[in-house]
């Protein structure tokens, strides 16, 4: 009964129930503000953040109420410090060929400046090393944003593969990154962007980015809402943060980031998939570019075998029909079919019910049960996302 959650570890008597319920980012060992600090660390403390360790970084979990932060993003605007994420700039004459080899989605699809592509980077067994976003900045220039917790292995893998293509791999650790998300996010954040770039930034289509001087503004995010992710020199970040808060943008922590991405049915690396799971069993089949067949990206051979398999596990959304809360690693029981597991479970503040993502046995069925503290609770399989652009998208 070790408290795996750093917060609960500070509340010794409130026992942890044994099921690893907390999101992956909470499962790291609690260390008392010993980790790396982003350029916004002091701002988090000023805003009353509860700081936790996340992959070696001291990051805000929430600033008082995770639920209110969640609602702020769905209804108005919130800002997240995502400076811990790893930005990698690639350059070289053969960088396009390199990326077509490195990742499962096809960067040949990127033909317009600034266009972004979500993809998995696979090992030769077809397992996911990481999921990432690629921005196309030119035929010899791409920007990657990869996860913080996987930084070391990602960089080692990318550098190893890059040698044969003579591609330069530059980590941009000196940059800060914030995500401003919500229906009013772009409007409220626009005054922060230098005047000469503001109109162009506001004109960005979804899933496009652009360089704006030494900033980079992209209409991307991890919440299911409209908004921007903005990369900037570290020295600019505190003033931008203050300005956003003064404009009524709510500071939001990793807790809200997790419930928002779960409602949007966006995968979390290390929880929904890892090096032992292929994108085909993590709901990410849509990110694999099978055509052209002659593009033999890393992991393709293994994926092709699994692609034709009839007992491939499904990756589905669940809505809890009974009272309670679904949590990571709880067992899913499908009568007469078999068992699966919840990969991300939690309470949906927007729906007011519990939802989950789960990997379950192959088969055609709509109902299942989940084992919660020895009891079987009823769940219904639903089409994801659960919530998008402020609207509930499932039948409740």
């Amino acid at each position: 009964m070790l408290p795996s959650d750093p917060l609960l570890a500070t509340v010794p008597g409130i026992g942890y129930d044994g099921a690893p319920a907390a999101p992956q980012f909470l499962l790291t060992e609690w260390s008392d503000t010993m980790g790396s600090k982003t350029p916004l660390f002091d701002k988090h403390n000023e805003a009353g953040a509860r700081i936790v360790d996340f992959g070696g970084w001291d990051m805000p979990l929430h600033y008082g109420s995770q639920k209110e932060e969640h609602h702020a993003v769905r209804q108005k605007a919130g800002v997240f410090d995502v400076s811990h994420m790893t930005i990698v700039d690639l350059s070289g004459e053969k960088v396009r060929d390199f990326l077509r080899h490195l990742v499962a989605n096809d960067v040949a699809r990127l033909t317009e400046y600034g266009k972004a592509l979500y993809t998995c980077m696979l090992n030769s067994a077809g397992g996911v090393i990481d999921d990432l976003i690629v921005y196309y900045l030119g035929d010899t220039r791409y920007r990657l944003v990869v996860n913080a917790a996987t930084r070391d292995k990602d960089l080692a893998w990318i550098r190893e593969q890059a040698v044969a293509f003579d591609v330069a791999v530059a980590e941009r650790a000196e940059l800060a990154m914030i995500a401003v998300q919500g229906p009013e996010a772009r409007t409220l954040a626009a005054p922060c962007v230098a005047a000469e770039y503001r109109d162009a930034a506001l004109a960005l289509r979804p899933f496009f980015g652009m360089e704006a001087g030494d900033w980079f503004v992209a209409r991307t995010g991890y919440t299911g809402e409209d908004g921007w992710e903005i990369v900037m020199p570290a020295a600019d970040a505190p003033a931008v943060w203050d300005r956003l808060l003064a404009a009524g943008v709510a500071p939001c922590g990793l807790g809200a980031r997790d419930t928002l991405r779960l409602e949007a049915a966006m995968n979390l690396y290390g929880t929904d998939m890892d090096e032992t799971i292929s994108p085909l069993e993590a709901g990410l089949g849509w990110t694999i570019a099978w055509e052209p067949e002659e593009r033999r990206f890393i992991g393709r051979d293994a994926l092709e075998k699994l692609r034709n398999s009839t007992d491939r596990r499904r990756f589905v959304g669940l809505l809890l029909e009974d009272k309670g809360v679904l949590r990571n690693h709880q067992k899913v029981v499908v009568e007469g079919v078999g068992e699966g597991e919840i990969t991300s479970g939690g309470f949906s503040p927007t729906i007011g019910r519990s939802i989950a993502l789960a990997r379950v046995p192959a088969g055609d069925y709509e109902h299942a049960e989940v084992e919660v503290r020895g009891k079987l609770l009823k769940v219904r399989i639903v089409k994801t996302p659960f919530v998008r652009n402020g609207q509930i998208r499932i039948d409740v």
């Binding site: 917060l7 008597g13 409130i14 129930d17 639920k67 009272k323 309670g324 809360v325």
Partner: protein, 131 residues
């Protein structure tokens, strides 16, 4: 944090107890515990009439981010549960020592108030945790 009510006793497991006029004991979790757990979204309550051992599982509180067992600070029989928490678990966050009570128990023989902390002792215990 607001001042601790003077008529309560506390455990080092961040639970509070109040001796009621009829001899029963109301039990809840402290403001410190509720705040650390965050917004509560679900409470699983015991059955009325259930016998609970000291240290046994008495209830489960679930916040947005995690589930936690609440262990019985004393042994006895559950005589009432706060049904309103089913629809409004956030009462525990809003009013942990009042409307956020969780169960009322008829204490067994082993109940000894000397094992529990006074408000001053619990405040000192909290202050120590902060350091």
């Amino acid at each position: 944090m607001s001042e601790l009510p003077g008529d309560l006793l506390f455990t080092n497991e961040h639970e509070w107890l109040r001796r009621e006029d009829d001899g029963s004991v109301s039990i809840g979790i402290t403001e410190h515990a509720a705040s650390a757990l965050g917004d509560l979204v679900f409470v699983e309550l015991p059955e009325v009439g259930q016998e609970v051992d000291e240290g046994g599982e008495m209830a489960v509180v679930e916040s947005v981010k995690a589930a936690s067992d609440v262990y019985a600070p004393i042994g006895g029989t559950v005589v009432a549960v706060n049904e309103e928490l089913a629809d409004d678990p956030e009462k525990i966050n809003a009013d942990p020592y009042g409307e956020g009570w969780i169960v009322r128990m008829e204490p067994g023989d082993t109940f000894d108030e000397d094992d529990l902390m006074s408000p001053d002792d619990y405040q000192a215990f909290l202050d120590e945790l902060e350091d």
